[in-house]
Symmetry: C2
Subunit: 525 residues, 2 copies
């Protein structure tokens, strides 16, 4: 993952399905607004024991902001009390002589204290610095109201006065955030759980999902603010257990179905504005998740009309995946970034991707049955073949693990996905997961996305206690480290980990981390 070449896929021809796109447009959600104010002023202090080495500590009550007269070089940090996604406005009034020069401000928005402490100019990571939430702006007319046109994802907002003039200072009033979400909070059934930690984890999961639910299911409201299939699948599951904005799932499915390539393959992610565009990133596992997400949607809603509409696209993803099988009937490996699975530098994707294919085939077969499609039988046969190929080519009986790639890598990801794909008989599947927890191979999960699959695999094989323990330690670990929403990335052993080169650019409210509410509620943990 050391360079971006992995993203440079060949140009694809997109075959637009205008009927699907129109359908998706008609399902555009209402956005709910709430006006929230900051709760206190804080300062950030270096603290080795805190996440990223920075802690936000109370500086003053929020009312103190109005009384502060900030001159050149002075600043204040407002704490909005919780994670917020929305539009910020404030009033600014001059103090002293009439303002004889424009006011120059820098505003910095951060989800975490580190974003308030470390200058963004120090960021040298490989993805765009334009994700860092910072504005430099001028106020020509004072007193004035500043209504920022961009949406921010943040808890902390730093206001720095870069310049006024020697004749005046400024004070800030009516600092507000008009939050936006397409999640309707009243729909969530309160969770009355005996374990307060699980209650907390559920609450923060729901908040994470809420803040990612916008015009579409975004992966993260700070970054990338985009509809990715891998995230959508998990958000949809969490949504069925909470907000029940099933129409938003439907909309997203139609969006993906609206812009397949000339072979019928759906993209890994979509751009929505100014017009719907399929990204030129195609991932083996993500394309299959279209089928899986449709399966979950149908399970949750019984919406046979949508199933019938989208079935040809769902079927096509599986057919295309099957074309990738080699002589042994195993998904062909490749040096490029062909399948996602997890952010891990050394992870071989073959075995886990083959498992994703099996997982999807099983569901495709059931959908084929539901729509009465002739491919049901074919998919059943291919499922059996794929399972047999997995056992013949990827199962290492001596080690008791599935191996992946030419170098026969034993990874957590391969075992987790094979367990979810139910390749082994029930008891052997459980034994596999137990062995995994005991032997702990070196190539381990790096993201909440992979950790979700670990937790769900434990539940799938019946290791409920282990799953609960793990959820409490992993997502609970984020809570201990100050999470208001769950993060894109959290490696307990390496809290500064970022696949992008700096924790400044990580997203700290990320869809793929919102799943504990689904796990807790769906599996009645």
């Amino acid at each position: 993952m050391s360079d971006q070449a992995k993203f440079q896929a060949a140009q694809k021809t997109i075959v637009r399905n205008e009927q699907f796109i129109r359908m998706a447009d008609e399902l555009k959600p209402e956005l709910f607004n709430e006006e929230v104010e900051p709760t206190q002023l804080v300062r950030v202090e270096a603290d080795e024991t805190a996440m990223h080495g920075w802690r936000a500590v109370r500086d003053a009550e929020i009312d103190a902001l109005e009384n502060r007269e900030l001159g050149k070089g002075q600043s204040a940090i407002a704490d909005f009390g919780d994670h917020r996604v929305g539009y910020v406005s404030f009033e600014v009034r001059p103090v002293g002589s009439p303002p004889d020069a424009p006011l120059k401000l820098r505003l910095t928005f951060g989800e975490m204290p580190v974003e308030m402490a470390v200058p963004f100019a120090s960021y040298k990571g490989w993805i765009s610095s334009s994700w860092l939430q910072e504005e430099t702006l001028y106020v020509d007319v004072l007193p004035g109201k500043v209504i920022l046109p961009r949406r921010y994802s943040f808890r902390y907002m730093k206001i720095e006065v870069l310049d006024t003039s020697p004749k005046y200072r400024v004070s800030f009033f009516n600092l507000k955030c008009a939050t936006v979400t397409s999640a309707y909070r009243a729909n969530v059934i309160p969770l009355d759980h005996a374990d307060p930690l699980l209650s907390d984890i559920d609450r923060v999961s729901v908040k994470t999902l809420e803040d990612c639910m916008q015009d579409v299911f975004e992966d993260g409201p700070k970054r990338d603010r985009r509809l990715w299939l891998g995230d959508l699948r998990l958000q949809a599951l969490a949504n069925y257990a909470t907000f029940r904005n099933d129409v938003l799932v439907k909309r997203c499915l139609y969006l993906f179905a609206g812009v397949p390539d000339e072979r019928g393959r759906v993209s890994a992610n979509l751009f929505i504005a100014p017009e719907l565009i399929a990204d030129d990133t195609y991932l083996f596992d993500y394309s299959l998740f279209f089928t899986v997400t449709l399966y979950d949607y149908y399970e949750a809603t019984g919406d046979a009309v949508t199933l019938k509409d989208l079935w040809p696209i769902a079927r096509r993803q599986v057919e295309l995946a099957l074309e990738r099988l080699d002589d042994r009937g195993v998904v062909r490996d490749e040096e490029t970034w062909w399948s996602f699975i997890d952010w891990h530098e050394s992870l071989n994707k073959q075995a886990p991707s083959h498992a994703v294919l099996i997982y999807a085939l099983r569901r495709a077969s059931r959908l084929a049955e539901a729509v009465g499609c002739a491919s049901e039988g074919e998919f059943e046969r291919r499922l059996t073949d794929a399972e047999r190929a997995a056992m013949e080519a990827l199962w290492d009986a001596d080690q008791g693990f599935f191996v992946s790639g030419e170098e026969r890598q034993v990874s957590w990801a391969a075992q987790i996905w094979m367990a979810l794909a139910e390749v082994l008989p029930r008891e052997e599947n459980k034994a596999l997961m137990k062995r995994l927890l005991t032997q702990r191979p070196e190539i381990s999960p790096t993201t909440p996305y992979m950790y979700h699959h670990l937790a769900e695999a434990l539940l799938a094989v019946g290791l409920k206690d282990e799953a609960v323990e793990f959820i409490k330690s992993y997502w609970g670990g984020m809570l201990k480290n100050g999470a208001d929403t769950f993060w894109e990335l959290y490696d307990p052993g390496n809290p500064d980990f970022s696949p992008y080169g700096s924790p400044l650019i990580n997203s700290y409210c990320h869809a793929w981390s919102c799943t504990p509410t689904y796990l807790i509620r769906h599996y009645r943990l």
Copy 2:
């Protein structure tokens, strides 16, 4: 002038005249728009022989801009062909993969090549850096149209791509400036002058005035964008000879008359938005220029209604100035920044300020006569007294110069203003100016504002050839150095001079430099 303490005047109580303010509001001018496009792309090159050491040289035709694909760290400079004041817009389109991160741009607007070459971050001068015309902005949705809300004053616009993402670059289209001015160009009678240099100087003077004529007569559209009495007086004179937007002069007079302090004194400058505020800067000479500007307005228009309305305020400025006379009948000197006269670190203001008082008294007396005010006789007597005091206390017969302050400073400013005040008999006045040109005292003019008064003093005493020669060398010098409009500051011997600490912050389209068109046309040079 080394620190800003000079600006810190005591708080004044303002006595608002709502009738005058309403009158001024009703006279708000129509703004004329013109859409202009850049003419070429340029680059800036170091050149010791060029103004500030930088020269703009042609890089490519403007059509090349659309074909340039700019990635992170790349830039282009558009040349709008002439000085422009207005609102800029452009379209930006992505090239490559769909934009997977916001576009981060820095836009820099400059009246002079130096502003394109020297980073604004290097500015360390004492007035606010917020005058430097720069924007850092994000474009979240691409392709997109960017309509910048602020007005800029510029010829050159640098577009820097601070970041995109590794997946895309951008191209720029339809770059435009919608210019604004309250000057109606068709009103200007073309000047058909035999001397092409004077024709050029007239043309650039008119352009300078045009770009400063907005909602009010601004001192400079880049900086301070404000209505100053000293500038207004000269702009009004240039306006009578060109655009004849006499109503705008009237509006500005009513604005000043609308917010005098509790003693009836008018401020040196006004803030117009969001509401009319008198700045807390009061200058001896500038307050008197209210009376002088009303005199000039009445001379130009014969508008007796306005004269009658505003006469009490005009009279009051003179009365207040007379209160400053000492036992000898001479204007009292002071260590503070009590009178403007010129930007010169060592200039003593006493003698030139006394001359301004005489100059204003002479005109106040004529206005008193015009309105049939009893103070006419009183003003006549005070004029005679002030002239006698000047001769007794300030005239040094041995040197043949007026002296100023305790240290009996001989400055150009004192002689120039005494000549304009016509204190000496006609021939002696002429001899004074000749002596000035020969002996060239050390304390010389530093601004076009003071140079204007030098030129007009030469004309007033009948030294027409010398005046023309001087206009051609001084304003012609700016033209040789690449002026599109005349500058706030130009010292031929020290082209980098700035009273603010850096030529970056100087205004290169400045009202007080627009007077050659008045001198050329009014005096038929």
